[in-house]
Symmetry: C2
């Protein structure tokens, strides 16, 4: 008899309530707990499990072990023209990101372009959530952050940077067929995907995802977990990751390269830096014109005949909008192993566990 | 008896004089001819042959066939806060880019951030030259452009965009060991590399570079020339190329996607769009501090122990600075086939051919 693993499903609203209460019980301010709940459940809804519910045990450990300040929301270091530097003071990433996005949008409203760069911040969930905060305000949002050292430079065998994602959101495009939303690590895959394979008990990962601890390519999930992520396309991924670090850790005056901690690094704070740029299309060809042209461009791309072996051409954001539509209907699945940790945490904190759908 | 192909070498200064005179004889204004000479010879010096002397026959055809206006330098469409939209009016790309970089730097000086986006422009040589114009003025320069449709979206089999490069230059870093300079196509390779293989008579190209006209991967140089370039790392390269197009053709109000012509497309203007962003580190943590931190970060990266099979870790810009040092010493090589076309052009235009070194 084979034992079947049961992955429970939940309504997004129930998960949001659950996550908010968990973090409130971890001494997080109610509005920040709400932000964390929104960002994590939004990512899980969009099928980006690596940046959704899966993060809760790590955030909880950081808080319980005192590696993050649950009350800090940071302070403005300087504002000079359209550029603002922010010190997150080791507050929760979502609290810092929310304030930085508000500043960025305010500055772009005044000057056409606005840039906020935060240092001494923490994990902020998926970058897409924050770029969308900017795009929902009518601006093009470009968000980048540095990350826990896990990637060796091209031809190197020790980590010097992290997944260093690049994310862009445009106004007017919030769902499939209307929009486009880029959120990509500059590695072949995000570390969360390898961790997800590990959680799911998959011994092997595809070629090109990772190197082992000696810098040699590996297909072993375990070796990858203790090894290095591969930069996207070799030296070009290395170049993009360094671009991100130049605009994050270097530009912010915060931690750079191996000075960063990480979600899974116990002995020091994360010290991540984040970059938020807003661009006002109204100061260019006009917002309506930009939105209409972006939609037309997306249509031009999606109309491309499919290559042999494929059914259709999708653009960045499409897989996530489809996952969201499906999970809004049938519930957000949570992996069995993850659910076990979350219920243990909830019991300890005396938070009511949501009912499955 | 095997015939040896002779690839002549020239001093950079002699090539600059030669290129300037060629373009002056093609009715280009002296200062623009000078700019073209500087950008193309600089690329050849840096070992980026695909964006150097190799472009001259294409530029010359465009001019002789009336596809580019040799006198036009464009006009400002709008300037609103820190954002400027420019209409290149089908002038030479170098003339348009030079003016846009001046505007970008002026705006960033005033506001901290400055953005100029040009439409209806032409090929401007290597993006690196223009990002360095911005970085030499003390700003971080980010330059992107759309390009002749030659790349199919991920899972597609018809071209919808071009090599769409991303380029960043930072102040204070102008040579190996001091700096970092990113200039990368969002394809696995630039079209110029396939063309270079063709010029060199190489029948095969590496895997992952290109697809044939039916969207199937190919190793044939000939099939690649009439086929499609592969996006870097599949869907991520597709996402980056669309980011570039969003900020170029879409944002500028110019030609998008298949509306663009190309250097090798005879029946219509190129209509390329270019994006120039300047960021002032003086408005952030201070320019000196930024420059010192960037240098330290580059040192951290270059100090990475090499992976098995490699000698050292290089960063973006290193191979080009090395090529430049070598070619300044021993001359700039020009391929035999290319040199034959150039001498024919020079004889027709009555331009004195430089002596070999």
């Amino acid at each position: 008899m084979t034992e079947t693993i049961h992955n429970p499903k939940f309504a997004a609203a129930d998960l949001k309530r659950f996550v908010r209460e968990l973090f409130e019980c971890l001494n997080v301010q109610p509005n920040t707990a709400q932000l964390i709940a929104h960002t994590l459940v939004a990512a899980s809804l969009r099928g980006v499990d690596s940046h959704g519910m899966q993060l809760i045990p790590f955030y909880a450990s950081q808080l319980e072990e005192g590696r993050v300040d649950p009350k800090a929301t940071g302070r403005v270091v300087s504002e000079n023209g359209s550029i603002l530097v922010y010190d997150g003071q080791n507050g929760l990433g979502q609290a810092v990101a929310n304030i930085c996005c508000l500043h960025t949008v305010r500055l772009a409203g005044r000057y056409g372009l606005g840039l906020a760069v935060a240092r001494e911040s923490n994990h902020f969930g998926a970058a897409a959530w924050w770029a969308q905060q900017i795009s929902r305000a009518g601006f093009i949002g470009l968000v980048m952050c540095n990350a826990s050292p896990a990637v060796a430079p091209w031809q190197g065998k020790e980590p010097r940077w992290g997944t260093n994602p690049i994310c862009m959101a445009i106004p007017g495009g919030g769902r499939e067929g209307e929009g486009w939303l880029l959120d990509m690590a500059t590695t072949t895959v995000a570390m969360g995907k390898i961790y997800k394979a590990h959680l799911a008990g998959q011994p092997d990962i595809p070629s090109g995802w990772a190197m082992d601890a000696n810098g040699l390519p590996t297909n072993s999930t375990a070796d990858a977990l203790s090894g290095l992520l591969a930069p996207l396309g070799g030296y070009k991924g290395s170049g993009l990751a360094m671009m991100v670090e130049m605009m994050c850790g270097v530009f912010s005056g915060g931690a750079m390269s191996t000075e960063l901690g990480g979600l899974r690094i116990k002995d020091r704070p994360f010290r991540v830096s984040q970059f938020y740029l807003a661009i006002d299309p109204q100061r260019g060809i006009g917002r309506e014109e930009f939105v209409a042209r972006a939609k037309r461009f997306v249509e031009q791309v999606k109309s491309t005949p499919a290559a042999p072996g494929y059914d259709e051409v999708m653009v960045a954001g499409d897989p996530e909008w489809r996952a969201e539509a499906e999970r809004l209907r049938s519930g957000v699945p949570v992996g069995a192993g993850l659910w076990k940790s979350l219920t243990e945490l909830a019991e300890r904190l005396k938070v009511v566990i949501p009912a499955e759908v």
